[in-house]
Amino acid sequence: MSPHAPAAPIPRSKETPEIGLAEGSQCVAQGELGFAPVAILADASGLVRGISGAGTEFLGWSVDELIGRSLLAVVSPPDDSSHPPTSGNGSEPAGDLESEVSLAKSLLRSSESRPMDVLCRTKEGTWARAQLLANALGPLINGAEGYSCILFGWVNGPKADVHEKAPAPTPTASSASGYVWEIDRDGSFIDISEQAENAFALPTGSIVGFNIASFVPKSIEEPTRQWLEQLVSEPAPFRGKEYFVHLDDGSIRVHLLSGKPILGPEGDLLGFRGTGLDVTTERNVTRPLQEAQSETDKEAQSKLRDAYEAERRRSDIEGRLIAMTSHEFRTPLAAIRLAAELIQSRTVDPWTARKADTIMSKVDFLESVVSDVLDLQRIRDSRVARASKSNLKLETLSAVIHRVLEEFESEADQAQRIVLDLADNAETLVPTFLVSRILRNLVENALNYSPETSPIVVRSSDSPGHVEVDVIDGGPGVPSEDSEHIFNEFFRGANSTFVRGSGLGLPIAREAALRLGGSLTYRRDPGGYTVFSLQFPL
């Protein structure tokens, strides 16, 4: 990795020490920095030998001791004359720090993850250049006040040598991960940087939208909510708030949160934003796993942990891939569709218009597949299941059904085929997202697979303690050889040749039904009707 050339020149020290963090290791420092990120040079034994900015307080410390520590104290403001950018050998001209600050600011504003050269003062009093990798930084606080950021590793000097000499990265150094977050005034994550995926063991898409209190262990959910309420009633900056995250494997991670209120134009509170840092290993809360009593236990635990780690990695990769599918596919699809539509609008040639139409139609199909894959992932995510008990939006069954049917109103002849037969329990509150996703798929299937003249009945039954909704159509139903496969992903039945679909509609509906604690079944009524029946407990 060659150093990234900075936009503004930074004088290179003639005597660059051969020091640096071992490649692959990370040191994460957290702080509300007035002007600059901090780079630290460590020697092969992990001791801090150099530090950017003018602070020297942490020279000689172990990098492990800096994990999670606010480095505010070691950064001096750019105009602080008490810390002039001079040093023992005087090899750097005055104004170096200013250049550094200017670069740091531009990096912070860019919100990109890219390397930047910074000057570090070494323990020996000389200056050295270090390469700083800053991730997901952004102007989190009003520009006039400064920035809040998370800092990651850097290396300097001949890395191969350092790497050979350096001990293996310590678990602390490699496991700590910082992230940037934003919540609304109700405590729901509006945004979170991708580094949080490690700290939460979840893709960011499964964090955004959920309440900050929904990730903590049940026993401290209430205190966490009270803390939030207190924060909203008296908005103020906070630092180092312990935040316990309950992972799906049952383990608990400790994060330190620092943040500030986000105020609207009228001074009204919109939410909070800040940084988080996973300091679990440092706090050793994973002790139960590590404290196996006997060697046998240790071995078993180790195997368990390895298996869990492998599964978590697989799941992480899958989650990331799916998130990528959504965000990275949709933009190029938009570009293709837009270009094709412009071609179609400009051409007078019927052949060109037809081809453009094909492109648009295929883009629309791909978009629907992307949406379906995402929905399936979202429903499978245990966070939805957990949230469904307390955080998911609820509406009456009747409102959900009407909303779903409205989606088909643009095709009037289709909508006219739908007949509603709702029982009294249609006023029961049900989770909107899951129920509407099921019913939309069932109604769409019924419209697609039954004769255009045949009515479709959406019927809810009055069964105590349960919600039961049937979607009934007069079509030929599922061919018997296909009936056991219809809930399998990407399965396309023999009768689906002329019906466009991703093969995910019924799997999504079934998965959503399971998440509701219920079931989705298919049957052929003696009267010759096709019935998909959703049932779930209240």
Partner: protein, 138 residues
């Protein structure tokens, strides 16, 4: 093309970090007789909004640097730009994000990929909204 010679041509800023989408959107809205300023970042959109008094801003949500919501928030700080209708284009589909965008003052949220008819409808509807936000009812 709907000719409206007597009317002032509406001024539109489009902020989108995908250059292909941006160029085509600029071309499209120019064909509809808009005066269009296409910019590749939120920062440029912010600067442009100070200079050209736009009638509407269409912005991508996730852009390097100043994102769509931050842009919206920053524009809301100034009287000259506070009431400019703001329409978000995004590849993100989460309903929470849509809600958040509305809370921040966005008038609409169009998901990528979109049809020109959908976008045009959203633009026409945004432009037909009353200029100034009425105070919320008590």
């Amino acid at each position: 093309m709907a000719a409206t010679p007597a009317k002032k041509r509406p001024v539109l800023i489009v902020a989108e970090d995908d250059p292909d989408i941006l160029h085509n959107l600029v071309e499209y809205f120019e064909s509809l007789d808009f005066i269009v300023y296409g910019v590749l970042s939120g920062e440029l959109a912010y600067e442009m909004a100070q200079r050209v008094s736009p009638d509407l801003i269409i912005s991508d949500l996730i852009m390097p640097g100043l994102c769509g919501l931050s842009l919206l928030q920053r524009l809301a700080e100034f009287e000259e730009t506070r009431d400019v209708p703001f329409l978000i284009l995004s590849a993100r589909v989460d309903s929470d994000l849509r809600e958040r965008a509305r809370q921040f003052g966005a008038v609409d949220f169009v998901t990528k990929p979109f049809s020109l008819a959908t976008l045009k409808g959203a633009v026409e509807s945004a432009l037909s909204m009353p200029k100034a936000q009425e105070p919320a009812p008590q």
